[in-house]
Symmetry: C2
Subunit: 188 residues, 2 copies
């Protein structure tokens, strides 16, 4: 997607070790107009698969999940890293490793809202190693729901997430792809 | 705001101890169309104060902050509870107590994005005791920026936040107000 690729080329920075700094427009300060356009683009890629609900993970996936769900006129749900006291009963739980924080992360989703047979679209800001998606899909399976696709703003080609997730046999779409060549970002 | 009040009356639940469960449409599963309308309503209340940027706190404030910033055509920034490795240098930091989690929370905001003299509008989902707002305002003051208003979806009248924040001398607006009477929610 042209606007996102242009912005990444202008304002992202490579910090080494596979880590990309995009906190001026994606995951700290947020360019909401760009995020809205990205949600619309993601919605066009997945509209035909008729998702019932968008699923993402706290925190930075919430922005793109919200704008995609707006464009698709369906609700969204974000997995919580801690079970809040307002969450009823035993939630669905899955654990994974955070890429940028280097620690175990737990995702909690209330059994009230993720329902059997629902068609679930996972949206996130980054596809890196794919571990967050696997954990979210684990919860989808626990709920007896159906993963119908995975959409992200930015795919890190060099992290192997697409390969890891290919066994899920759903469409995986990204609005921009990043490679690293000679310690420089190559964005397309 | 009629739509939000109606939804709160239909789908919120009082859990006792001042805690209101709204995780079916505000802070876990999210009704994105309602969130969009709320952002538009908040934007109408603050447009005249010409905010340069919307500030909120991770996590559940992100939704309403995003839709408000969309309607106001300005960026938003969300305070992070942990300093990510992508955050440059020493961030602005403020600490407070979480109402629903009963533990200390730290807010981190990068010095790169919150600038001196910026006109900052704080948006959040709830106004309860007002401690989050005070911590965010602390960071605004550290940055030499200016708080110009506070807008929330839901104000808990019984928590005293409005009184605590009155010394800030900025407009405080909420789209719905909740009182508790005989252990029942009164929503208006």
């Amino acid at each position: 997607m042209k606007d996102l690729v242009r912005r990444l080329r202008a304002d992202s920075r490579y910090l080494g070790n596979g880590i990309i700094k995009v906190d001026g427009f994606i995951n700290h300060q947020v360019d909401s107009a760009l995020m809205y356009k990205c949600g619309f683009e993601l919605s066009k890629l997945f509209d035909r698969y008729k998702p019932d609900i968008i699923l993402t993970a706290e925190t930075s996936g919430i922005l793109s999940a919200l704008t995609t769900s707006l464009a698709l006129s369906c609700p969204m749900i974000y997995a919580r890293k801690k079970k809040p006291i307002t969450m009823a009963g035993d939630p669905y739980v899955a654990k994974t490793l955070s890429h940028t924080k280097g620690e175990e992360v737990t995702f909690n989703i209330s059994r009230e809202f993720l329902k059997s047979k629902q068609r679930v679209l996972i949206i996130d800001d980054f596809l890196a190693r794919g571990l967050t998606m696997l954990a979210l899909n684990d919860i989808i399976q626990q709920a007896g729901a159906q993963l119908i696709g995975i959409g992200v703003l930015v795919e890190k080609n060099y992290e192997g997430g697409r390969e890891l997730l290919s066994s899920l046999r759903v469409p995986i779409k990204s609005l921009a792809k990043i490679d690293i060549n000679n310690n420089q970002l190559v964005i397309k």
